[in-house]
């Protein structure tokens, strides 16, 4: 239960108002640090959840597909500039953020281990292209997309996405061509 405690600790830190306000004041931190940390907190807490209700997950989501579908929908929603804007101005959207993103973590933990290698690759490549597109979108946008953030911050966020996409591409390449070589083929 060490992970669960860590997850709860992380979640509590994230909901401390000054920390929340600070993270949300910078667009890049809001989307690329706060969001992933909330998902991570959910993932860690998922250790306890999956142990507490193992049969429910087995019965209702044996192959992990339902979970991953919800994950994709929720994360897609949070990539709309509007969702990010509204989480700052409408309290129930903010509340939804602090519930839905940890939920993504929990579902992901359950689904990821059940997905086949093809399923995982599909999801991974889907996000790779999505992040690349987001990077291009935020850097190249001629107008201010978010009413609460300046254009320069928008471009910073775009470059953040480009960096993540780059890292993901490097990861795919090494997975395909380096760790797949004869000497360690058994580890895949």
């Amino acid at each position: 239960m060490k992970q669960t405690k860590l997850g709860i600790l992380l979640y509590v830190i994230l909901i401390i108002p000054p920390i929340t306000t600070y993270m949300e004041s910078i667009m890049l931190v809001h989307m690329l640090i706060q969001f992933p940390l909330l998902i991570l907190a959910g993932w860690l807490i998922g250790e306890w959840v999956l142990e507490r209700w193992p049969y429910h997950f087995l019965k209702w989501d044996a192959n992990g597909i339902a979970g991953i579908i919800l994950v994709i929908f929720i994360t897609t929603y949070w990539m709309f500039p509007r969702a990010m804007d509204e989480s700052l101005t409408i309290w129930h959207i903010e509340l939804f953020k602090f519930i839905s993103l940890p939920l993504v973590g929990i579902l992901l933990r359950n689904s990821w281990r059940k997905l086949t290698i093809i399923g995982r690759s599909f999801v991974f490549l889907n996000y790779l292209s999505m992040f690349g597109l987001m990077g291009w979108f935020y850097i190249d946008s001629p107008v201010q997309i978010c009413n609460n953030y300046l254009e320069i911050e928008q471009q910073m966020l775009g470059w953040g996405f480009v960096v993540i996409t780059g890292i993901m591409i490097v990861y795919v390449l090494q997975k395909c061509f380096i760790s797949g070589t004869k000497s360690n083929v058994n580890q895949i």
Partner: protein
């Protein structure tokens, strides 16, 4: 088989819930940014132009109701602006030129409202209007000296103004058409000049035809 049945239900449920989230999160696939959501909402709400006192480029002070019984096409700007506002006002001038002369001043007046109350005094506005070919009568430039009134108006019309601290502002821009009764009728893209002019003319013509 039973195991399968539950999984199918869960998958369908996930798809339905996910679609609902995206649907309601974007007002039925209409608005993916807060700005488009704002425009969409303004068209639904049609807010009333609140009571404000204007001070224009000729140092005249009057309430907005001065324009009662006329359409008013409005922009929000500030004179120290170097990027969007000059384009906004240039486009505004083009719309002005495209409106048939018989309507100008009679049925419609143009009004550029500065939200930089401190800096944009009447003399500054008077200078600024000349560079855009505004006549100062049928196209006036004005500020709202009372900050509370200004803030209220900006809020009602969904104009976002973020001070950058160095005398500049980040803000959104559009053409706002207020009808004869003082209600916001249309919010138009300031980059689509012809489209905006056509919309305004058709509103005026439709009324004349009735």
């Amino acid at each position: 088989m039973i195991k399968n049945w539950r999984n199918v239900v869960a998958i369908i449920l996930a798809i339905v819930l996910g679609s609902l989230l995206i649907y309601f999160g974007t007002d039925g696939f209409h608005a993916f940014t807060e700005e488009s959501a704002r425009t969409y909402q303004l068209h639904q709400e049609k807010p009333l132009f609140p009571r404000v006192m204007l001070e224009d480029n000729k140092e005249r002070v009057y309430p907005f109701s001065e324009f009662e019984d006329k359409y008013v096409l409005i922009t929000f700007f500030y004179t120290a602006c170097t990027d969007v506002c000059p384009v906004l006002e240039m486009n505004f001038a083009e719309v002005y030129d495209q409106i048939p002369e018989k309507y100008i001043g009679e049925d419609i007046v143009f009004l550029s409202i500065s939200f930089d109350t401190k800096h944009d005094k009447p003399a500054v506005l008077e200078n600024y209007r000349k560079s855009f070919g505004s006549d100062g009568e049928t196209w006036r430039m004005a500020r709202i000296p009372n900050q509370t009134e200004l803030d209220n108006l900006l809020k009602k019309f969904g104009v976002i103004v973020i001070p950058e601290g160095n005398g500049h502002f980040q803000h959104n821009s559009a053409f706002y058409l207020v009808n004869r009764k003082g209600y916001l009728e249309k919010v138009m893209d300031y980059e689509k000049v012809d489209e905006a002019a056509q919309t305004v003319v058709s509103v005026l013509e439709k009324e004349a035809g009735e």
